[in-house]
Symmetry: C2
């Protein structure tokens, strides 16, 4: 197998690229050697060399502790628990949270054999006990696995004095009622709030 | 900008990956350092170092002349002219052609300022005169630019004794008449052939 086929095979492993778009991407790269192919090779090598998991929160960054854990202006009393680094990034983009994070690394799943020891649960419990955390916000997916994990974590943290909260469920911004599923509508109705708050 | 953001920016330049899927791809890579991130960095570097344009036909390969030009079993009297290396790959995948290729590098386009000197036209004319080519098959897109280019090339090759042909136009395999455009139907009707040939 020559270098072109090998490159296509590797690109095809990326999420969102199938065999056909991997061929297209490989040609696109080979035609832009100086402007894209070489920089991307270098960028990947740099990322492999410098990016590591934060030993405190599980975030990925070029420093350990990560920039968020190291930032003294962030509010250490609020700890937001997320499944994945992608979720951390999404909350950071919203700009709505000034506390710190804890990346679980997934959700509990009996089907896929993911138990508490596969996730960063012990680190979370230890961190809450040690760091004077006042509130743990469970920002987990509104799926069966996410909610199972939330219940488990609430149980585990029940012995400590920490407040455990979760994200509100309801109608998303710009959401049209007509297109919402029954579960979301029920949750939004049950959690209705006085107008003007 | 740190290594992660840089990687996302580079990945977002690939065709088929937007900013969102580039973030997803970057995380996917960072979680698979040994199995994918490092091999892909190496694969890109290898491709940048070893892949070059064939000086005869314009194909991309790790050798010059490319494997097709160097293969003595290929029929040098049939020369298939394609716009792009992707088209060459597509015809090779079909397995229906045993001759050699000539990659133009695009089509004539007044709008985008692409004239004959931007394409490998002179090389084609010289090659036909030199290599004893008997038939030039114009495998160009059935678009205005593709057909303009085909007419131009047929003119340019008109002085030589070479036969100039183009791909048949008609109903694609599995195509339902009901869904075909008028142009294709007209072309298929005009080029109708006796049953049984």
């Amino acid at each position: 197998m020559n270098e072109i086929d090998q490159l296509i095979q590797l690109l095809a492993k990326l999420p969102g690229l199938g065999p056909r778009s991997a061929r297209r991407a490989a040609l696109y790269l080979l035609k832009r050697r100086e402007s894209l192919l070489t920089p991307l090779a270098q960028g990947l090598a740099d990322a492999a060399a410098h990016v590591a998991q934060c030993s405190q929160c599980g975030n990925l960054d070029t420093t350990d502790p990560c920039a968020i854990c190291a930032d003294a202006r962030r509010d250490g009393t609020h700890l937001c628990v997320v499944e994945d680094v992608a979720d951390l990034w999404a909350i950071e983009r919203s700009g709505a949270f000034a506390g710190r994070y804890h990346v679980l690394g997934g959700t509990l799943s009996a089907l896929e054999g993911v138990g508490p020891e596969e996730l960063r649960v012990e680190q979370l419990v230890a961190r809450v006990a040690r760091d004077g955390v006042g509130e743990v916000i469970l920002a987990l997916s509104a799926t069966v696995e996410g909610q199972t994990t939330a219940h488990y974590l609430a149980d585990r943290l029940g012995q400590s004095a920490v407040a455990v909260t979760r994200l509100a469920q309801g109608v998303p911004m710009g959401g049209e009622l007509d297109y919402l599923d029954d579960g979301t509508l029920s949750a939004a109705l049950a959690a209705r709030r006085p107008v003007g708050r």
